[in-house]
Symmetry: C2
Subunit: 390 residues, 2 copies
């Protein structure tokens, strides 16, 4: 079995501003992101042979008809991919498979979500009947369990969490497309209203609207496109799906996510990465909650178990530190329009690797990693992208 | 660009009975179909490297977590594919891309839907807010428009439609897994209550529960499995997505489906088929309504425009006729558990090509075609499978 390395590359990227986009429809968002990506690649809409679109909620869109209709790209295959918070990155993965298969050589991966119009103060319920197996609490309730266990096991506290929020908001304050562009103080985080103890308002990412898109092709075709000298390589992509009800597992300890651990291992193996801390230059890590980032950092092998809290405090994962995490501002500053997030992270990675980041540019970035975690810690996706010369 | 031919094969298949399965849950259905397919292939669950599951409605299941949880296949990637009535066949397509890419060499394509528990007398509404673009009438209302136009243009009438129902119910009466296993008389069809004129009760397929699954691998690996001598080749697979609101197109004539026409053309080109009538031995064609089968037959180039009605009446598309269509009984007899249907058709094709059909066996079947049409005539998928020796 082989990965994508040297077979699949990113030829162009685009994304909308993320935020409360009351004046834009789903159509507006997808069109803006995709046509920006097409323009960035120097590819005509009619050259696209297939598309995959990450959408979580059916009020955002249904089936392949949604992207086909919005983009006026009729006649080709379009697939809606829904995989919890990894929907966007799974759309990307399937698009990469399409190119690696040799069936297509110019495809679109995109994602979007329009959450604000729903009038909900948190993620709307999925609706419909469910089996006993599928009952689960809202996201803050689930991740609060991970936080309280981490407090107990690692000695972390609300300040440990607050440091993540302060770091990511400092980063995001520089990013023109972020939902929240204001640095915040630790005291503000600590004093914020509690959503689900110990997670306060600044420990949680926000509801948001947005869309992001990538044009994916072969290295051969990329050489005749706009980014012929700086197209970006897909070094690895792995998804791992675990149980939807971890709390029913007697051995589950809530201080790590098996899906992230496994997706990380698989991705490192595919990319030939032995020492992620030394080989990876920056990371976009799923920070739907501050605790999520801390645990995922550890699960991805970016530090020892229990060290993430201290290292965040020391600036190790800050811009300018040893291994910057969420230099874009992360979900904390962008919000989390579910279907869009994975694709947005990959847009950030691509632009960083091309030396044209929006917001803070990581110096001499050669390899970047993006990570999503979705469901009840159920599905994790890890993508590793590399500069043309790695 | 190349297709799947000689790179992707079907190693095993399984499916549940379709029907009102009040005593079975989604879990039961998926487990039954998938483990039957694994057993048929002679493959252990742990050998599966990735899976794609077609599910339309979120009350049936969400994300990759649903199949992973139900099947207890943790750690690997699972993707939920939702693409209207083509969801199952699109799951199959993505699984084929996975194998053709060389990233995997043993994967699962499956589909399921549990519609009966919803208490609805037709397909449940998708729920959620929609844009103006996404408003559409229920399925019988849409296909009735095609029927009335066909009456006008081709001179068809309710008897023309009834012949399709009689044919398919005669076929399905022989199939042990069909929802409806009773032959019906033309008079019954004509006298049945009207759902949406001219479509009466027997012109519409039923609500149903069911699941189907396929194990997909490379020809190389298939040679060491149970069906080493009669694994089935994927000769072509194409999906074409068109507008979700055809009635807004001034030139749309309602006597054919551009998505079916295009998917057919693409699939024939991939499979190297020049004369489908001569080269294809049998067809599973989307017959959500009797009118749908007639128009799709024409769109697939299986007869001249306007001839389908007459040819059905003459037995040309019946078992024993020149080109049998829906020898399984089709959606008319199986009902249409959306996510399952495309996979079920491919199970039928596989077993026919292996000479072990449930129900009526087409004599010396070498090449079979399966077709879905979904949404507002929006998405069409066509898969062509071939016997080992073609």
């Amino acid at each position: 079995m082989k990965g994508f390395r040297d077979r699949v590359v990113i030829a162009g990227v685009g994304y909308t501003k993320f935020g409360e986009l009351w004046d834009k429809s789903q159509e507006d968002l997808l069109v803006e992101a995709v046509y920006e990506a097409l323009d960035d690649a120097g590819v005509e809409p009619k050259e696209i042979q297939a598309g995959w679109c990450g959408i979580q909620y059916e009020f955002t869109g249904l089936s392949g008809g949604t992207p086909a209709e919005f983009l006026k790209m009729y006649g080709i295959p379009f697939t809606r991919v829904e995989n919890f918070c990894a929907s966007g990155m799974d759309a990307f993965r399937n698009a990469c498979l399409g190119v690696a298969s040799g069936v297509y050589d110019m495809v679109l991966a995109c994602g979007m979500e329009k959450l604000m119009d729903q009038g909900s103060r948190g993620l709307p319920d999925m609706g419909g009947a469910r089996s006993v197996m599928m009952q689960y609490p809202p996201a803050p309730g689930m991740f609060a369990l991970a936080a309280t266990r981490s407090f107990e096991v690692y000695g972390w506290n609300k300040e440990t969490l607050a440091n993540v929020a302060v770091k990511n908001h400092e980063h995001g304050s520089h990013h023109p497309k972020a939902h929240f562009r204001k640095a915040i103080k630790k005291e503000e985080v600590l004093k914020a209203p509690i959503i689900c103890w110990p997670l306060g308002r600044f420990d949680c990412c926000a509801m948001s609207d947005g869309s992001a898109a990538l044009i994916i092709t072969t290295p051969e075709r990329a050489k005749s496109l706009k980014h012929k000298h700086d197209y970006v390589k897909v070094l690895a992509n792995a998804i791992s799906v675990h149980t939807m009800v971890p709390w029913f597992h007697p051995k589950y300890d809530f201080i790590g996510f098996p899906s992230t651990q496994q997706a990380g291992r698989l991705a490192y193996a595919q990319a030939g990465i032995k020492n992620p801390v030394e080989e990876i230059d920056f990371v976009e890590c799923h920070d739907c909650f501050t605790i999520t980032e801390l645990l995922n950092i550890q699960d991805l092998g970016l530090c020892k178990q229990g060290d993430a809290g201290k290292l965040v405090e020391e600036g190790y994962f800050s811009y300018g530190g040893k291994l910057p995490v969420n230099v874009s501002g992360g979900l904390k500053c962008f919000g989390h329009p579910i279907g869009a997030t994975g694709c947005r992270m990959l847009v950030e990675l691509t632009k960083q690797l091309q030396g044209r980041a929006d917001g803070l540019q990581v110096k001499d970035a050669k390899i970047g990693l993006a990570h999503n975690l979705g469901g009840a810690f159920t599905v994790a996706s890890v993508t590793i992208l590399g500069r043309n010369d790695v």
